[in-house]
């Protein structure tokens, strides 16, 4: 669809240009090759797009009618429950609980879950930070990483030095994910590193890692799923280091990737 050969553009490129769905360098390339007729068409479509986007724009600010708010509340209760179930252990439990859901739900519609439980362990907090860091940088088009995959050696040296431990970059090519690059982030107990990978479909996953302080930090844990963040993450600890793999994937797919990462570290 997004033709990357330098010599030709097609109508789909014009649409993608108008809708902001081309990476910046491709958008620039298309703009440079527009003939006058296509430039006029692009300008018209862009104006049309802006007008459409202005339609009923004020609705976003208006309070919701009560029936809609109630229905959203009911759905929220189901959502929160499902997320917790998923967290606890999969479909078997959720199917069982679905039978009891009808009546237990009654009266809980207005109860809203606090964003995070009051006493989260430092490891869970680590997983939450990983998921948030994922959500912040994953949509980034221009600067998803500080150091790109092209400078892989420098990236590993730099982050190893900052995190105070020799790091290994897991290879996930077999699973369809290529390294995009990495960045340095602040964490509660020091520096954290984030490596980003992307597959052919444009899905991005991030591996977030760093030293953890506190009780039990020296041990090793099994994989755990953090499902309450912006995206699900599998996280684990190994020799004082925490790791979290986040991505908008199904549980099984994410677990396969986490296993592949763990084996390579």
């Amino acid at each position: 669809m997004h033709d990357s050969t330098p010599h030709s553009i097609d109508e789909n490129d014009l649409h993608a240009l108008v809708d902001g769905q081309l990476p910046p360098h491709q958008a620039q390339a298309v703009r440079e090759r527009l003939g006058p007729a296509d430039a006029a068409r692009v300008a018209h479509w862009a104006a049309q797009r802006e007008t459409l986007r202005g339609l009923h724009a004020a609705m976003a600010e208006k309070p919701l009618p009560e029936p809609l708010r109630m229905a959203a509340g009911r759905l929220q209760a189901l959502h929160d429950r499902q997320t917790r179930l998923w967290h606890l252990g999969g479909m078997a439990a959720s199917v069982l609980l679905a039978f009891g859901l009808g009546w237990t739900l009654h009266g809980q519609w207005h109860a809203r879950l606090p964003a995070t439980p009051a006493s989260v362990s430092s490891v869970q907090h680590f997983a939450q930070q990983a998921a948030v860091a994922h959500a912040v940088y994953q949509p980034e088009q221009r600067h998803p990483v500080e150091v790109g995959a092209a400078q892989q050696e420098h990236l590993v040296q730099w982050l190893s030095k900052r995190l105070g431990r020799p790091l290994t970059l897991p290879v996930l090519t077999q699973q369809g994910f290529e390294l995009v690059g990495g960045r340095l982030l602040p964490g509660e107990s020091g520096a954290r590193a984030q490596f980003m990978y992307q597959n052919q479909a444009g899905q991005r996953i991030t591996l977030y890692l760093g030293a953890l302080n506190g009780a039990g930090a020296a041990g090793e844990t099994a994989f755990r799923l953090h499902a309450n963040g912006p995206v699900p993450a599998f996280y684990w600890m190994d020799q004082g280091f925490g790791y979290a793999l986040s991505g908008p994937l199904e549980r099984d797919a994410l677990l396969t990737l986490a296993t592949a990462v763990h084996q390579q570290l």
Partner: protein, 168 residues
């Protein structure tokens, strides 16, 4: 906005439904039905998948079903006119005009155009919501844009063939 809070998705659903159906009451009914259906279908949603896309997909199904059972001919809707007249005076006629022209597009073209512009959805996501191939999204988008231009500016729009053209 927290993408996991259902209530944060509702204004976008309402607005999309409003422009899609061209009618304020029909739009809120459609959103209400969508949320009720989502409650019944909740176990089919997989945690971690895209909540927004899922809600839009459900709504699209309902919209198609409603259209199938509705009368084939829709009279001019008094609510649409009424709502338009209540809009702020600035640009009121243009807005009304645009909405009327949108309603004259085939529904499947209107849906693609609105998901891509109003909702700023990636083509692949729009394809998933409408359950059609990305190629079909692109061809419908092309026809929608061309047709809307013709409707808005009768006689002015150049007769562009909607088919793909290769440019050198």
């Amino acid at each position: 906005m927290d993408l996991h809070r259902i209530v944060d998705h509702v204004p976008a659903l309402r607005r999309y439904a409003r422009v899609l159906t061209g009618n304020a009451w029909a739009a809120d009914d459609l959103v209400q039905d969508t949320l009720e259906r989502a409650c019944r279908k909740w176990l089919l949603w997989r945690s971690g998948s895209n909540l927004r896309a899922w809600l839009f997909t459900l709504m699209h199904h309902l919209y198609l079903n409603q259209r199938r059972s509705a009368l084939p001919l829709q009279a001019v809707d008094i609510e649409t006119l009424h709502d338009g007249l209540q809009a702020p005076p600035d640009g009121k006629d243009d807005t009304l005009d645009l909405e009327r022209c949108l309603q004259r597009l085939p529904a499947e073209q209107r849906a693609v155009l609105l998901l891509v512009t109003l909702e700023d959805m990636a083509y692949a996501d729009a394809a998933r919501v409408l359950q059609i191939p990305v190629g079909t999204v692109m061809s419908r988008l092309s026809r929608a844009r061309t047709r809307l231009r013709e409707l808005m500016e009768p006689g002015q729009a150049p007769a562009q063939p909607p088919a793909l053209r290769r440019l050198k």
